[in-house]
């Protein structure tokens, strides 16, 4: 089962990718739209290449990043409640992105947008790890997350409210809930390099995360350096979540839901969970993005709404289950 899981997830991502390409405001058949993607010169070709393709690609990239970051954080903190959105990393990344936009930096140098998001995300990861301690007890973790989220959210709102741009205030919702609508290849290109680095860093953590299953002391005695792992985790998570948030806003719960659903299928091994969670995250974000377009095609329903509808009940369930440990 474990052997078939990754190919099965990859197939699912591929199918959802095609679905994401073929669903939109413009009614066009599967064959017609895919043909237009390759060769179409008319407006349909333009729609496919410049609107739907980057949207679907961003869905995959952001899903991979958030799923992977969630699995890595949970593995490191040995806590199934750890997730970039819940512990405030996404909110902090959004603050960084909003600041770089409102200060006009990102208009001058587009790569500053994901870089600023990365910087603030790294601060938040560092802060949460510091507050939660090495073992990451659930209560401290969630409280640290609430504090970081609230502060970052408030500062984001403040920056947008103070913006000379009257539209900025209305975008608080986008930054807090996330959306993939009307993104272009510009966003793909500015996010991709950061994400690739983040994926590379997080995927090296597998064996160390496995060893951490036995606790920090046992892992260290087996030649794993928790300090080095912490550094890689902070940088990798910040790169993944920062880049994702910079282009699509804070999309929560992906890193919570996906590792939870896949943990049993991979035999709970943190190292096996990393690639599975990445692919699962891509599938979930693509599916949610298809869903927002199918359910209310005329409104820009925020992706975060769908994710929260799926994720929040699960989060409550997990809290109930870990209550014994928490109290």
């Amino acid at each position: 089962m474990t052997r078939l899981l990754l190919p099965a997830l990859a197939l699912l991502v591929a199918l959802l990718f095609v679905a994401s390409l073929t669903i939109g405001y413009t009614p066009a058949g599967l064959g017609e739209s895919l043909a237009a993607l390759g060769t179409g010169d008319g407006p349909l070709g333009l729609v496919m290449r410049e609107i739907r393709l980057p949207r679907a690609l961003l869905g995959v990239m952001i899903g991979l990043s958030l799923g992977l970051a969630g699995a890595a954080m949970q593995g490191y903190l040995r806590n199934p409640l750890a997730e970039p959105g819940i512990v405030g990393i996404s909110s902090a990344a959004a603050l960084g992105a909003v600041l770089s936009i409102q200060l006009g930096l990102s208009a001058a140098f587009p790569l500053i947008l994901p870089a600023a998001a990365l910087g603030f995300a790294a601060l938040a990861v560092g802060l949460v790890l510091m507050l939660a301690g090495p073992r990451g007890g659930s209560i401290t973790l969630i409280l640290a997350g609430i504090a970081v989220s609230a502060l970052a959210g408030a500062l984001t709102s403040l920056v947008l409210n103070l913006s000379p741009n009257p539209y900025a205030t209305y975008e608080i919702v986008f930054w807090m809930l996330g959306s993939l609508s009307d993104r272009s290849f510009t966003h793909v290109w500015i996010a991709l390099p950061f994400m690739v680095v983040g994926w590379g860093l997080l995927l090296t953590l597998g064996r160390g995360l496995d060893a951490l299953t036995l606790g920090e002391d046992a892992a260290e005695a087996m030649g794993v350096s928790p300090r080095r792992m912490r550094l890689l985790l902070v940088l990798g998570t910040a790169a993944c979540v920062g880049a994702a948030t910079a282009v699509a806003g804070a999309i929560g719960f992906v890193g919570l839901v996906v590792p939870h659903l896949l943990r049993r299928a991979v035999g709970a091994r943190p190292s096996a969970l990393l690639p599975a969670s990445a692919l699962g995250g891509a599938a979930l974000v693509l599916a949610a993005d298809v869903a927002v377009r199918l359910v209310v095609p005329d409104r820009d329903l925020k992706l975060g709404v769908v994710m929260a509808l799926i994720g929040a009940p699960l989060f409550l369930h997990l809290i109930r289950r870990t209550r014994g440990e928490v109290l």
């Binding site: 939109g24 405001y25 413009t26 407006p43 349909l44 333009l46 729609v47 410049e50 609107i51 739907r52 936009i101 409102q102 006009g104 990102s106 208009a107 913006s163 000379p164 741009n165 009257p166 539209y167 900025a168 209305y170 975008e171 986008f174 009307d182 272009s184 290849f185 510009t186 005329d298």
Partner: protein, 239 residues
């Protein structure tokens, strides 16, 4: 205390007659008269602020700042609500109305009749087929045929794409639908400082192939004589 009434008032009032206008009336992005009559101070449309100015008359838009307007009425100020201009004919009518309110009937009459004759004299060469234009603003907001901007498009010799897509007053057009409709001209407004996703939509690479014309919002967001300028500018921009 409304973008449009502010502009009408500034056109008609005698020097010293206006105690203050709203900040919107001075917004260079929205008002055609941001630079006009700089001696008139501005207010932030808050009831407390306006009450403190002790005006004899408050001219409000019938859809704006309602809580503040109700408050001022309760405080015993004389408040007149003016509806927004919905057609070009409203322009002259509202100028005359403003003249009556401010006791400047002759000046208002002069402005109104000049507008009427200018509008009548406006000739726009007909073209067949008429090019399709679309107003496309932040968040994909477009103006329908019933709106002032829609009437300006019509007069300037365009078919309004928004009408074909089912809008009557105004609303959002998704990016995909706009591209599929292949407009001949896309009309956008100015940009604010800071930056926003709403405005960034207009930078989407998929839009880069569509010819653009820029009409400052101020010239056609309200029914003032400046709207003639928008008609002229657009008819000249015809591809």
């Amino acid at each position: 205390m409304n973008l449009c009434t502010d502009q009408l008032a500034m056109l008609v009032a005698a020097p010293g007659q206006l105690v203050a206008v709203s900040e919107l009336g001075r917004d260079p992005h929205l008002s055609a008269m941001a630079e006009a009559r700089p001696e008139i101070p501005t207010h932030g449309s808050q009831a407390e602020e306006i009450f403190a100015l002790r005006p004899d008359l408050v001219i409000a838009g019938s859809f704006t700042a309602r809580p503040a307007v109700e408050m001022l009425k309760r405080l015993g100020l004389r408040v007149v609500d003016m509806p927004p201009e919905q057609t070009l004919d409203d322009v002259a009518a509202h100028l005359r109305e403003m003249g009556r309110l401010l006791g400047q009937e002759s000046r208002a009459e002069e402005l109104a009749s000049r507008f009427e004759s200018d509008l009548a004299a406006l000739t726009v060469p007909a073209a067949t087929p008429r090019p399709q234009a679309v107003v496309y603003g932040p968040n994909g907001y477009s103006a329908g045929p019933n709106s002032l901007a829609g009437q300006v498009l019509e007069l300037a010799g365009y078919d309004n794409l928004a009408a074909k897509l089912g809008l009557s007053w105004g609303g959002q057009i998704p990016l995909e639908r706009l591209i599929m409709a292949e407009p001949d001209l896309m009309i956008t407004g100015g940009r604010y400082a800071g930056g926003s996703r709403s405005e960034a939509l207009l930078d989407h690479p998929a839009l880069s192939a569509i010819p653009r014309a820029r009409v400052p919002e101020g010239s056609w967001s309200c029914g003032t004589p400046y709207i003639l300028g928008a008609i002229r500018a657009l008819s000249e921009a015809r591809p």
